[in-house]
Symmetry: C2
Subunit: 260 residues, 2 copies
Amino acid sequence: MSQSIQRAAEVLELVAQEPRTQAEIAARLGVHRSTALRTLQTLCDAGLTRRRADGRYGLGYRLAGLANVAAEQFDLREIARPALERLGRECRHTVHLAALDGDAIVYVDKIEQPGMVRLYSQIGQRVVLHTAGVSKAILAFQPSDVVERMLQGHEFTAHTTTTITNRPDFDRALAAVRERGWAEDDAEYEDFANCVAMPVRDAGDSVVAAVSITSLRASADLGTLRGLTPLLAETTAGISRDLGWRPAGPETTDPQEAYR
Amino acid sequence: MSQSIQRAAEVLELVAQEPRTQAEIAARLGVHRSTALRTLQTLCDAGLTRRRADGRYGLGYRLAGLANVAAEQFDLREIARPALERLGRECRHTVHLAALDGDAIVYVDKIEQPGMVRLYSQIGQRVVLHTAGVSKAILAFQPSDVVERMLQGHEFTAHTTTTITNRPDFDRALAAVRERGWAEDDAEYEDFANCVAMPVRDAGDSVVAAVSITSLRASADLGTLRGLTPLLAETTAGISRDLGWRPAGPETTDPQEAYR
DNA sequence: GCTCCTTGTTGCACCTGCCGCAACGGCGTG
DNA sequence: CACGCCGTTGCGGCAGGTGCAACAAGGAGC
């Protein structure tokens, strides 16, 4: 909507990847050198970026402060953290927490294992809807109009040989998720990584987030991960309960409960 | 420089304080409601803010991700962290690390103690130059032209009865710092908090940062804090060494060393 | 049921303030 | 010494940000 703010945000993403020179940023943004400079100056004033000793621009100190505050505002993250850490300790794999954020699904937290390869995901990033386990775990339990809206215009780009590349196949995958209760990513984004994921529900019984266990196929294949679903179920049930969710009794499994 | 980016940064600060409504933000910015909305939408698109369940706007998840990356770019912080944590464990008070960042001094890291009152400082925030211990510890060892530039237009606002309110007194304070090797904040900003601070030097023997120990007067007065200066000296010397600083031999204590 | 309030959204006209350009100076490197 | 890179400044043009008004939708309160 607002061009210059959009550009400023792009600058943040650029210098987050690695500190960059003013000329490089101007080139990547496709704007004149002086324009990039003015943007950078404003951002530096605000402490969001900073000029480093080597002359390149990097992220600013203020970001760390804002993030500290932000973490306090993330009720979900705060609530889920202990459960995620426990899961991480017990399964020894990378754990992700992703949540619905408007019409997108974003990574909200991540537990990494010491010595493990870093995965592509970053906190705050949008999840690739048609490949990630967490997105399937969430989408499978959304009303169809929500799914429709979120997938509108979505490109089913092939990243590996197992990527789901069309809507009908994806719908079948969601149906499978609903049936068995968990979602999988069978090396659909990176051919060396796979994962299992399960949904998290809130007090209104809506699925608002999902937790996944990701591993390198070399260290644990899908079959091994499936063996971890009981552990994962325990984790997601715990988080859901902390969010105020109440396990449905047999009589409340019908749609009548919607009337509270 | 760039108005809309400046506003966007203000928005970030506003919602960092607490989640706010669109109308509130518009009022604080002094702009029309629709303008504020457009700014917010752009920021939300970038993940820097987000619309919360209660309709108010808060900080976005992407900030947490950016901050993770940012922390990796902060060499000083990375290097100093272990020493600060150790100091925190040993003195049981709040520990600050502040650094020169262009023509400002900003908090770079902070060790809080469980159960302690939260202090005003936030990572990334500019230090109040005439009251903070860290700023005196840094300014006392800067070339006079740098001090001049940084204090240009600075207001010596009184925050408590002990605040230094004019330049000559401040210069005398800096001289005292040079003499005894550490700086103090005698309840100059908040009447219930005081601190001691010492400088950190880099490989070129320049003072680039400072570490402070802050406490509530009720829990430890200035006299008690002064007793901690040996511990503080150990910490700053350790960080300085990690930055490549070499303790000066007796013959290099004269100004000749400036010629390297 | 009703109203009142807040918010999201859209269209439009105005004009601010951002953009691109060019030129100069400083600094470090080859 | 030349060259490249960067910061800075002034200026004209115009894109795009801004303010305004009007409407719809949702919620709270009565």
